[in-house]
Symmetry: C3
């Protein structure tokens, strides 16, 4: 593996899952990070991703520098521009310099939710990849969140009781306009992994980009989707079609105990943070089939597997 | 010890003092933090507490992640709430997730100084304790600052020349409205320690909560309190009775050289930062009986004793 | 060496260069930082300086705490002041406390560009030096940037092909008002090093302070200065005479390929970040004589040489 941006960079997802499991069993068992440096560069703030990645790096023996650029670091991305305005440094220099200070460069960027073409170009991440001379790891980009998805594969692998579980990715209400990254990646990884049957349930108008969720796996009938499901993965996302649109008309999309009875005693998953009694009821979240804390824990081991492979 | 929130959590204060002294003599003498993680979570900013706690953890061999949430991390504390507003994550998840990333969770919160009942419930700290699955250390809460107070016990233990020194906690002028935490804890710890005679001197209207400073140890006569004192501990605090009130009529409460002549050649103590020539005169602060830098130094060893006990 | 604030603190620049080269060849070859702490205190934000200094310290085996005080830490610098206003802590306590938490204290401050006398007093840096009880390293002050300059000596030493190269420090256009620190220090260090012939080229009205660039090495004719040059070091700075003044009339001062043909196939240097096609053309910056990334890389080794000498 030479970078970690999408499921395409993971030639063998089961090998990554197994590596993550090995680190979970023995966190300090391998030290490929000795005398190496990991830089985490955040263009927007982060709790789980930052902590789990720092912990993962340190458990591998590496040093970590986390740099919060959310306050503004005016990076220029256009080639040939006359930088006489608000941008102070070109990504060529930014990526080139950071590459010299580290062995793996982890970057988090985010979408505008205004300009779909620009967001789906994923320019920040791709520019860093282009000009970095060390492996780049996405800590979430404008369109994907691969470390979350690898974590989700691991969590499902640990809890499945049938060889091929039915997994439902369901849209859920949320008062804010959220990116599509987690959902895109979840669909991408479930399909790339190939060991689950994935259904995506969302209201009309909220289909994910077809490249991530082709029409044949999308339904607008949440209750039908839940029937016989082994895993319910809830997440809000804003619209891809009418890009960035959201709704305050939540309808009947919140996940509650009654709906969970439609499933095959499914586990409940969410990447956190989660709005209680908006996305999901207290009863489901606090019930014994909720895996949200296990997911957060698994972030560390997934990150460790990825970093170990790149260091 | 399973948590460190108040003097009640310290079954043997002298044992903690002795542990701190041992670390001061040999900072790297014990390494119970090896392959362990300490998380410092700050809901308001900090200099001394942050640095001394980080240093203490690292000297024990632990890794540290310091997370500054002062910019806002909308945590919901109410049970059963419909999180359709400004809070993005419930403390159940926040504490549950952080617990999985560390072995000791250190939290700093702060009072509103508006709603006494709410502040004295110490909801932030208590909620983290309730939902964390690892030991919690208070880096100052809405009502207490136990690491400062253990430090103060250590500093007094190092400098006392009589078995039972007279210690005066005195209110001092300050242009801002300050919490009662340091003063509450100082009184609590001096009394729990039981090896000093404590007097609290403050203007009328500025009595601390009776639970921390019962009436029989409170005086409004600062000069009388100073008579024969071995240690003068100065601190401003806002009112408990008319909750959060302060005054710009400082009267004669500043500590200066003349007042210090009333004492038994007392040491001067303050937790810093200190407003010169408002709280205390330059002459006292720069004099050879001032212990303020020794106190700041002792923060490291007190934190190391506490973390060592919990790791 | 007992501090690192200017070229005056470096008794033997070649020894520092050689130490930096040794660390570049073997980053973990010496571990004088074991069980020691370096504190980096930033009064304004930093990318390269922060990362290279952290990396340098860690490669020496030291722990590092980086404290960002750019959000405001109201430090009082005046002696005898009645601190009844906006300043919360006197530099005596600030420096005294930090000294107890570390073995080397690194400080970055910055100029106002409003009051020349105040800026050139370098009060923040000098006050920390005065009250610190550990060695102080300047991570850039109001007037100097010595770690950058030592880096520049190293980079020139690595690339010179003649014993005594001709080095041109040239003013270049920039839309913002910038400090004189990098330029002052570059001139100071080149002269103190004594192994290059230095010319400073700048527009009329933009002479550096005579103490850094005496008249006999200053020219207003950039093209004449470039003739036969071995190294072109570009940097914008605001005026020293009409203090802080800048210009948007950039004239013909941008460095481009045509101008570089006037030189002896000179290397191009800049401390970064750099405004492309304002300070320098893409062609020069991306050309094979550009050393800007090597300079950024050398920051680590220069810092490591300095810290190793002080730890």
């Amino acid at each position: 593996m030479t970078q970690f941006l999408s499921a395409n960079d993971a030639p063998d997802i089961n090998a990554l899952i197994n590596s993550a499991k090995a680190f979970k069993a023995d966190p300090f068992g391998q030290q490929p990070g000795r005398q190496k440096m990991v830089i985490n560069l955040f263009f927007n703030s982060s709790l789980r991703t930052r902590m789990s990645t720092e912990k993962a790096a340190r458990q591998l023996g590496a040093d970590v520098i986390t740099y919060d650029a959310s306050g503004g670091w005016g990076i220029e991305f256009a080639d040939g521009s006359v930088m006489n305005g608000n941008t102070a440094e070109h990504v060529r220099e930014a990526a080139g310099v950071l590459s010299q200070y580290c062995d793996v460069l982890c970057v988090r960027s985010f979408p505008s939710l205004e300009d779909r073409a620009a967001d789906y170009e994923d320019r920040v991440m791709k520019s860093f990849v282009k000009y970095a001379t060390v492996p780049v790891v996405s800590l979430e980009s404008a369109t994907r969140h691969p470390l979350q998805s690898l974590t989700d594969c691991l969590t499902i692998a640990e809890h499945r009781t049938v060889a091929r579980p039915k997994v439902v990715l369901t849209w859920a209400p949320h008062p804010r306009r959220l990116p599509q990254c987690v959902s895109n990646s979840f669909a991408e990884w479930m399909r790339a992994w190939g060991e689950v049957d994935l259904i995506v349930a969302n209201p009309p108008g909220f289909n994910l980009a077809p490249a991530f969720a082709p029409k044949n796996i999308v339904t607008h009938d949440q209750r039908a989707a839940f029937a016989g499901a082994d895993f319910i993965y809830a997440k809000n996302w804003s619209a891809y079609d009418e890009y960035g649109a959201t709704t305050t008309n939540f309808g009947d999309w919140m996940i509650d105990e009654e709906k969970m009875t439609l499933t095959n005693n499914a586990y409940f998953m969410h990447c956190l943070p989660v709005r209680r009694n908006v996305v999901v009821s207290d009863g489901v979240l606090d019930g014994d089939r909720s895996l949200v804390l296990q997911q957060a824990n698994n972030r560390t081991w997934a990150a460790q597997a990825v970093l170990a492979s790149l260091l």
